[in-house]
Point group: C2
Chain length 209, copies 2
C-alpha cells in the first residue's frame, strides 16, 4: 500500500515535469527565449511558481533539458538509420535522412536546438548546462565523422580530412533546413525533400573514392 | 552662402542617420533584437529620442534599413566576383567566395540578416518593410540561379532543376557559416576556409556536366 502511493507520486511528478517541458518548448517556439518568463511557464503548466522551482532551478535549466531531449531523439534516429546500411554512401545518406526526419517530425526540438549559442547573441548558459548539451551534440557529429573515416579507410570516400568532409555534409543539410525554415524555398517553389536528395547525390558523386 | 548651409545640414543629417544605424547594428549583435529599445539606440547615437523618430518611424524600420545595407554590399560583392570569371564552375566558385567574404568581412551585417524571419520567432515586420528586404535578397538568389541555368544550357552543369541546384549550393555555404558561427568548428579544430573549399570542389565534381 505504501509503495503504491510512492509509485503514484513518482509517476505524477514525472508527468508534471514533462508538462512543464512541453509548455516551455511551446513558448520557446512562439517567441524569443529571452522573452519567455518562468511565470508564464508555471501558468501554462498549471503549477504554482514555487512548484516550478522544485523541478527546475531556472529557465536555463529547462532550456538545457529540452536540448538534451532533442539530442537524445536525434542520436536514436541516427543509430536506427545505421542499423542495416552497409556501404559508406548508403550510411551517409541514412544519416542525412535521419537529420531531415528529425527536422520534419521533431521540428519543435530542432528549433530549440538551433537556438543554442547562436553566435550573435549567446544565451550564456552555465558551464555545467553547456557541457551537458555539448556532450550529446558531439555524439551526433562523432557518429557522422566515424562513418566518413571508415569510408575513407575502405577506399569508398575521398576528400582528405574526415572531419572536414563530415562538417560539410552536415553543413549542407543544416543550410538547406535553415533556408527552408526561413521560408525562402516556399517563396521560390523549391521542395526541401527533392533538393536534399539531389544535393546528397551530387555530394556523394563528388566524394566517391 | 545659403546653399552652403543647406549642403552642410544635409551632410550632417546623413552622418547622424548613419551613426544611428551603426549603433543599432552594434546593439542587435550584442543582444536579442527584441531586447533592443529605441531609447538605447538614441542614447548610443547621442541624439534625443524625438530626433531619432525624425529619422526612423520605429525599430523595425531601422532593422530593415540595416538589412538593405547588408544586401547591397552582398550584391555588389557578387557582381564584382562575376566580372572576370568565364566558365560555370569558376563563376559558381566566385559567388561562393563572395558569400564567404561577406560573412568574414561584414559579419555584423551577416548577423543582422540571418535573423530575418527566423522561423521559430518571426519578427513580424510590416509588409512594406519585408518587401523592401525581400527584393534585394531575391536579387542575390536570382543571380546564383542564372549562373547555374547558363551553366546547364552550356552543358557544363548537370543536376536537373537549376533552382534546386542554386538552393543547394547556397545551402552548403549557409550551413557551413551557421556551424562556424555557433562555434562547432573551433571546438573540432575544423577550418572554415579549408572546409568550404573542399566542399565546393566536391559539389563541383558532383554537378559537372
Amino acid at each position: 500500500m505504501y509503495m503504491g502511493v510512492k509509485e503514484r507520486r513518482k509517476r505524477e511528478k514525472e508527468q508534471r515535469r514533462q508538462q512543464i517541458l512541453d509548455v516551455a518548448r511551446e513558448l520557446c517556439m512562439r517567441k524569443s527565449y529571452f522573452e519567455v518568463r518562468m511565470e508564464e511557464i508555471a501558468e501554462g503548466a498549471e503549477v504554482a511558481i514555487g512548484t516550478l522551482y522544485l523541478y527546475f532551478q531556472n529557465k536555463d535549466e529547462i532550456y538545457a533539458t529540452l536540448c538534451e531531449e532533442g539530442l537524445d531523439i536525434l542520436n536514436r534516429l541516427i543509430e536506427e538509420a545505421l542499423q542495416e546500411k552497409k556501404d559508406s554512401q548508403a550510411r551517409l545518406e541514412a544519416i542525412g535522412r535521419s537529420y531531415l526526419t528529425f527536422y520534419a517530425e521533431y521540428g519543435s526540438y530542432y528549433d530549440v536546438l538551433s537556438f543554442v549559442g547562436m553566435g550573435f547573441k549567446q544565451i550564456g548558459l552555465s558551464r555545467e548546462l553547456e557541457t551537458r548539451i555539448t556532450q550529446k551534440s558531439d555524439a551526433a557529429i562523432a557518429r557522422l565523422e566515424t562513418v566518413v573515416r571508415e569510408g575513407m579507410e575502405a577506399g569508398e570516400i575521398t576528400g582528405g580530412d574526415s572531419k572536414e568532409v563530415a562538417f560539410f555534409l552536415w553543413g549542407l543539410l543544416e543550410g538547406l533546413i535553415f533556408i527552408h525554415r526561413r521560408g525562402y524555398m516556399n517563396a521560390w517553389s523549391v521542395d526541401l525533400a527533392s533538393t536534399s536528395t539531389k544535393a546528397m547525390d551530387a555530394i556523394n558523386r563528388g566524394i566517391s573514392g
